[in-house]
Symmetry: C2
Subunit: 757 residues, 2 copies
């Protein structure tokens, strides 16, 4: 197969680089000191029988984080980041993720529990492995890198050749070539990316093979890692021979199952190797990568791109390793793994030759400049072993004084980082915060997410065969089409609510002062607000809070309003405080009070200083990237201060409330205060009833209530409904300025997937 | 009660004019010659047990059209017009609505059937009336005018007085006053509005009381109309006395029920008069109005406004008629009814005095100038009896030569008028045509409509207790919220449809010619269209209909596209014809082919003439008021002609197809052709499946199909889905340019109210 020529002749370079990627990352849950925990898999992650993102591998303490298949490595890393953030933030407060492959602080073997999976066969398999390899080796973690070539590429290459008649055979041999060459040259990746120079002594049953002060490139890739007995040899001559030999070892009991064959390359696409002859190898799993402890997620994007090019090179090369070359490659790996991390490798010439080939290939296929630069840097590491990851990790261990100590320090640091913007899912920060919160919960609960349109906040969710679509966090198929249309139209909303018997402030519009005054009897004794129809900065508004008693007063107010507009409204005035009720289905999940931007004096600081102090709150920021907004000190705020006889330099007295805004919007620095528990249940029921009258599943109901402790009465003096909003905001309930957090995104998930357990 | 003073002092003039109005209009279904039909109540009107708009009164041939209560008489007239149009257009082709109160062409009494209502008691009641009054009198038709004062007015007036302690008593006495004064002065309305100067002789059992050539003002209001025996006297002294005397007549068997008391004023608000003592009279029904045959709906707005002022005057007047005044009023009515229509009335002085009072009141309460002008015109009719309606009707009869002939001519004329814009509901012409079509069907079927927002096409529908909301004709609660959101986003639509396994044209976008060409193998052999991402007038587009075979051709096409845009798309090209499938639930209700604006040559006319002839089609118009649009002859059309070597002055040969547009939009003069029966059922099922995948209840699916006779195959050569549209257009299916009409609005109603029968 002269793949290289076909690609060059047909300019298939870009297609060659297309593919599908996935990363599986194992790691141990540890205490603050880096020692492995003996606690069960954390409850928030739900059930491992279906979780697509957060699993355990061998041990109950060993997390396995799995990214969904992606077409771009950049997206794979976004998912890796997101799954990490969810995992870390969902773990017990005193647990951490150990950043290194080789375990430190191993518990006594009897305290190590194999993963407590639902399927007894899965547990039995792990118990068997304990018998064969001991518990300690099973605690080793690493990164598995899944890579699939573009199906279009394979089809095109197949069409361009004559050797193979069957497309499946062609595909199998293509992946077989990639696998064999990979096994032949895998030592290069170990030289460049290995990061397990040592481990604590009690890891070894029979004492450490390392001399005092000896460090190696990769203990994990050596015979001391999690590898099969040396006698287990499997043929890569052909896929048929591969299946034959693998079945041989299973049949004679040396392997309990095919999956006990721990090759650094695995063929994926079927449960049994023999099935692949029919179905075709779908993708390869490369398993030799140590966790990079210097990266929060165990691997960085540049290295992942380099591995991609490396895998492509294995196909690009004209020659294909034969079985003896494969065996040679494994021997070279073993040797390189045991070299000192900062020493020159004995196979430097071959390594430099291979990377030169890689760089040539990268140029021929128009790989991006960044990737080529990374490859060139890797090439230079043969001349300068101190630049290799292994050498850098060794240096870090020596600086930390201890292997475990380095791991513990980094684990704590990465946990802290994951909490920096605890209200966000950093990798998806270009989406709305509410969608980030929902995705956080979905990842945690193990519901599959496909982002259909990132700009449009459009997700496709799947649990088993059950598919749901969500837009903007809570717009779903559970609402009927007509209900947002009703809510969108304030006139229709009022009519529908009034029809259903709710207290709605009524209004009348007038086009002349005469007609308004002629209707005075309609309003006599009623609390009304008289205002120009298009309100501008509150000009022309008169409020009769106690009810209008005098016709002349009324006429005067009408006249004032008509100075500002050609149309004037007389509307029921509702006294009381406005609360936002977040209703989902039959329940008011949260009640929120929004308070205009303000600071409280302390008798010592100026208004400007008080504002700066308040703005320091972690939830406050600018733009849409934080749940709360910083208080500005612009023209409007200064005017508001002036009305209170203050300037930004005034020093308010202790406990003095200083208003910086008249409006209560969160977007202008207002405070959000959770009042769910304080609110009388009758109002919560009302909000639910209003939501039902709107035909809505999710609704934000704004009620004016004078006394939240008194039960609701059927008149406007007790309460009135101002607005019903579809797609109501969720972040202000999840991250209020004060009061209890209400994680309403979880209720959205429960609504969509009631079967989730 | 000095109502007048209270209103003046408190400037309640406008409030006084507020109220609620309703009109009930009886009339006979007749043959073209004006003779009464003996056919059953037309089927399309559904069941009279619930129909709110279209009922029968006494006889099976006697329609009773009922407007829903409205706050403005203008709206009452819109409803009267709409119900009329629906009724006329739903009647058998050879039936008409007789425009006069007194019947002509009476069938033999044994052929007159009482209304065949579901309730046996209702039928029995009518049979009893036959016994008492004979069948002929029962065939008399008229207009009943319902009027309710504003509840706020009554409350205000009540508050302003001390005489009554009970609000209900006050209200009852207010309406009692209106009723008594009305009965006292009703002769004035008969003088001005009466329109039954004669009737055919066989109407009278014992021979006509009219001498040869004698005409009267109102036979219907005379003792020869449908009135009680003279002995039936009921007291209006108080509501209690009213109930007492009414019950007396029922108890002694002179009346079969209270409703057999045919007063020209009825108290409404309860089944029995005595109940009104508790519940209060809610409104009055004035029953003395003859049909005005010179108006298509039997009454015009100016007269209705005059009657409103007249009713108000009955409250405004300081004095209240006592029982003897009521009896006097009835006698005066009888006398005036029998006066010659073109003669001066014997009570002219009183009439002029009363209308002077009315005009004064109208001015005091700031009635609109138009109403005051009408009142002044009515006043002048006392001096000039020829201006009265009765005189004008008499003149028309004499011109027509015959009473029945006039009725027949007018009936035919009004039916023709109602068909003039047969696709519209004229009174609601400011709404969308589709909403008009839906309202037509709703009125016909007897489902209650409340217009929540006219601009926004927002309706509230009710059948029994079952309420549904509809916006824009087919946006309802039956669609889920997420499905229009999916359809709104073309990227998401494609993904969802592709995921569900439908044939969707795939596309790739490129930012450089190099990357596009590098991906050539992806497209080799495939039918693709290469186009700039933002297409402008078709510039830069290349189509490889037969599949791209040559890389150089592909590269050239890419280069051409990049001349127009920085981003270029390569998209699957679908050969075939585009069809619109209108799907509702489990069924494709209609399939439409849209053909670009065109004319067919006849070898004689120029293009301009052919266009003018085609534009003459009744469905074609400008703007949005017609289902199809006129073909323009603007720049684009002239360019299109030029491409065919034609100008507007060319004379195309016989059968030559002349294209005037490249696009097939109906809005630019395109033709709509129904293809529902021609389309292979497999595509109709596909459209249903696509609709289900969208989660939609109502959907417009656009499919490209090369051969509509061949069953669908699972590949893009057989068909491809281009778009799925929520709120799909309905008018083009209901009124296609050619092919069968598909009245999909009826299916919308069936979907909303499956219980309707």
């Amino acid at each position: 197969m002269k793949i290289q020529d076909t690609i060059k002749q047909n300019q298939l370079g870009l297609l060659f680089q297309q593919g599908t990627f996935g990363i599986e990352k194992e790691s141990q849950r540890v205490h603050a000191d880096g020692s492995i925990v003996t606690t069960p898999h954390p409850k928030p992650f739900g059930n491992r029988s279906y979780h697509p993102y957060i699993q355990t591998d061998f041990a109950e303490s060993q997390l396995e984080l799995i990214t969904p298949p992606q077409q771009k490595l950049e997206d794979t890393f976004r998912w890796l980041s997101a799954i990490h953030e969810v995992t870390i933030r969902s773990m017990p407060e005193d647990e951490y993720i150990f950043p290194m492959s080789m375990p430190a602080g191993l518990p006594n073997a009897d305290l190590i529990q194999v993963a407590q999976l639902d399927n007894p066969a899965d547990v039995a398999y792990r118990e068997h492995l304990v018998g064969t390899y001991g518990k300690n080796k099973q605690m080793v973690s690493g990164i598995h890198y899944n890579f699939q070539l573009s199906q279009d590429l394979i089809q095109t290459l197949f069409n361009a050749q004559t050797e193979y008649k069957s497309a499946v055979d062609f595909q199998n041999n293509l992946y077989l070539k990639m696998a064999k060459n990979f096994l032949r040259y895998q030592w290069v990746l170990v030289y460049l990316l290995a990061a397990t120079p040592t481990v604590q002594d009690n890891y070894f049953k029979d004492g450490s093979p390392l001399k005092e002060g000896q460090f190696v490139r990769s203990l994990r890739s050596s015979r001391y890692g999690y590898v099969n007995e040396p006698e287990i040899k499997v043929s890569f001559d052909s896929l048929e021979r591969y299946a034959d030999t693998l079945e041989h070892w299973v049949n004679n009991g040396k392997l309990i199952a095919e999956k006990e064959f721990y090759s650094n390359v695995r063929f994926r696409g079927a449960k049994k190797a023999r099935e692949l002859l029919d179905t075709g190898i779908q993708y390869l799993e490369f398993r030799l990568f140590d966790l990079n402890p210097l990266e929060p997620y165990g691997i960085n994007l540049a290295d992942a791109k380099f591995i991609h090019l490396f895998a492509l090179l294995m196909v690009w090369l004209d020659e294909t390793a034969d079985q003896s070359a494969v065996e040679l490659g494994k021997e070279m790996l073993e040797k390189v793994a045991f070299e000192a991390p900062n020493s020159e490798t004995q196979f430097r010439a071959e390594g430099e030759w291979l990377l030169t080939q890689l760089i040539t290939m990268a140029q021929e296929i128009n790989a991006d400049a960044e990737s080529i630069a990374v490859a060139q840097d890797k090439l230079s590491q043969f001349a300068d072993p101190n630049k290799t990851l292994g050498a850098r990790v060794l240096q870090a261990i020596q600086q930390a004084g201890d292997y475990q100590k380095l791991g513990a320090t980094l684990a704590q640091q990465y946990k802290k980082q994951a909490y920096e913007r605890f209200y966000a899912l950093s990798a998806f920060d270009n989406m709305e915060l509410s969608t980030q919160a929902l995705m956080f919960d979905l990842i945690q609960k193990g519901i599959k997410i496909e982002i259909l349109d990132e700009q449009d906040q459009f997700l496709c969710l799947q649990f088993g065969d059950h598919i749901e679509y969500v837009k903007n966090g809570n717009m779903t198929g559970h609402d009927s089409y007509i209900s947002p249309l009703i809510m969108e139209n304030k006139v229709v909303t009022k009519k529908v609510l009034a029809k259903a018997g709710f207290n709605v402030p009524q209004s009348m519009e007038f086009r002349s002062p005469e007609s308004a005054v002629a209707n005075y009897p309609l309003f006599e004794g009623r609390a009304v607000v008289i205002k120009p129809k298009s309100t501008n900065f509150g000009l022309g508004i008169t409020i009769f809070q106690q009810g209008v008693q005098d016709k002349n007063d009324f006429a005067k107010a009408i006249e004032i309003a008509f100075r500002e507009d050609k149309e004037v409204m007389v509307e029921d005035y509702l006294t009381g405080t406005e609360y936002r009720f977040f209703v989902l289905g039959d329940e008011t999940l949260a009640v929120l009070l929004r308070v205009p931007a303000n600071v409280i004096g302390d008798g010592r600081h100026t208004v400007a200083e008080l504002v700066a102090m308040k703005n320091d709150h972690p939830l406050r920021g600018d733009g849409s990237r934080t749940p709360l907004k910083k208080i500005a000190l612009g023209e409007i705020e200064r005017l508001q201060l002036k009305e209170q006889g203050l300037t930004v330099d005034s020093i308010p007295t202790k406990d003095q409330l200083v208003q910086l805004r008249a409006n209560s919007n969160i977007s202008t620095g207002g405070d959000s205060i959770d009042m769910t528990d304080e609110m009388h249940p009758s109002y919560k029921q009302l909000a639910v009833d209003i939501t039902k009258a709107m035909g809505a599943a999710v609704c934000g109901v704004d009620l004016i209530i004078p006394d939240l402790k008194q039960p609701a009465q059927p008149n406007l003096k007790s309460w009135g409904v101002i607005e019903a909003n579809f797609n109501p905001m969720m972040m202000m309930h999840i991250f209020p300025y004060s009061g209890k957090s209400r994680r309403v995104t979880q209720n959205v998930i429960k609504m969509l997937f009631p079967e989730w357990k």
